[in-house]
Symmetry: D2
Subunit: 153 residues, 4 copies
Amino acid sequence: MERFEPTDPQYESKVRESFARQSIMALIGARLAHVEPGYVEIELGFREDLTQQHDFLHAGVTTTIADSAGGYAAFSLMPPGSSILTVEYKINLLAPAAGETFIGRGRVVKAGRRLFVSEIDVIAKRGDKEVCCLFGLQTAMMLTARPDGPPPG
Amino acid sequence: MERFEPTDPQYESKVRESFARQSIMALIGARLAHVEPGYVEIELGFREDLTQQHDFLHAGVTTTIADSAGGYAAFSLMPPGSSILTVEYKINLLAPAAGETFIGRGRVVKAGRRLFVSEIDVIAKRGDKEVCCLFGLQTAMMLTARPDGPPPG
Amino acid sequence: MERFEPTDPQYESKVRESFARQSIMALIGARLAHVEPGYVEIELGFREDLTQQHDFLHAGVTTTIADSAGGYAAFSLMPPGSSILTVEYKINLLAPAAGETFIGRGRVVKAGRRLFVSEIDVIAKRGDKEVCCLFGLQTAMMLTARPDGPPPG
Amino acid sequence: MERFEPTDPQYESKVRESFARQSIMALIGARLAHVEPGYVEIELGFREDLTQQHDFLHAGVTTTIADSAGGYAAFSLMPPGSSILTVEYKINLLAPAAGETFIGRGRVVKAGRRLFVSEIDVIAKRGDKEVCCLFGLQTAMMLTARPDGPPPG
């Protein structure tokens, strides 16, 4: 596993500030659990109002925390003044998203000049048991022209 | 574009009943707009509490409606007594999810014996303008052993 | 279907010259069948030495023509002096690659400033029958710093 | 990393026999380097006639060995009398395929009842240096109705 050196000494605070502006995270009850250079974890508790027809978390919900985990893993490595855009992802749903707590994890596997590729997954925890319910790959792009945050309104 | 014959005459009502059990749809305010054999549309209005850090809909939210649209497009073609499981999807985010209304669309491109492949996309509408903000492919599997619905509790 | 205006009037000859340098195409017997702005077709005849264990074309072979078709569809829209790099693709194998002739097709669905997304597929033809055996999505990146061709040796 | 128990004691010989029937492997000069339960390596030397326009291996060629490595990793875990079909894959091209030798690797990450998900990659070696040039995910399906091999002619 490659270790990355952050190019922004404020990498953790900028990730935390950006995450705090993702209002969807408040709606679903997700929190930013861990940030290190090139690696991020987002935690989410099970809730009935996040489910699909079989009473498991909807894949869109686990994708939400996996996508943000991968994106912020990449963002943690970007220089000050840049922002991030997810280009694409591919996700395999390995098991039903059944559990009490879910950890979305993103880990950068390739930090290019503009493009960052991250491995993303979601671990479903129930008691002592852990199952990987989502596994995927994400490509994100660094935007140097504009800082992170909403467009000026 | 291939036209499909449904093997379940109740295809629309079974899709609507299953969709109604996806509680995440109520949380985000999505509604099932259109069902035909092999094709489904889900509509979602913009809301501030569904956004990411740039004030666009989070990709996980547009993925939620695209995944369900593709899955229900496939489910509409399945025989009575079967249920559906998303195996995987791949999504390109073609443009920011900016708009007033979003239409998630799923269209089956291959109906196999067990596996169904659907093209999925999300159209962002603002006034008269329409932009495709998400485009992808989804693979779903038919489960014959168990009917649609939550596991017996 | 969007129509694209090429930014390079020599779009067809530059695609043909680049294709001619892809020596793998000579090895497998593929030829560039059609070039228009944002759309390319590559044709390949069945050969026993291109197959997998079930006597169908190996997925890597159909991927080869699909990837180049998508990449050259994007390259046809790029300005003079640029070159192209495939970033990623996702491919569904919809049917066995059984046939006499195979047409790999690439069609740009989104031409961004740097990134191009193309729909790619392969049609297997046998007599009058046509089957889509491969369907996918490709992301390619425009490189402005360096012209198409091998690195100076 | 999960360890898998093979359900077929002849797992290695059946993989080797099947690989030997993939005639594309002889054409490109690939050889089956390593087989263990749930893990396979395929080795390929650089050749000029396998390249794209920049003199690197064409992505379709590295995909060929990655796809077979992933598929045979899954096949090694399947019971006697079954065969395998690649359903789909997604591949990120992390670096140019430049090197003297290339190792395609497939490792099963999820062995389901019918579907197998494998991580696939290709390592490019030049002297002592190793670079991962391809990284992806593959889904394959077990066919129980028919043994591995060409359809009866």
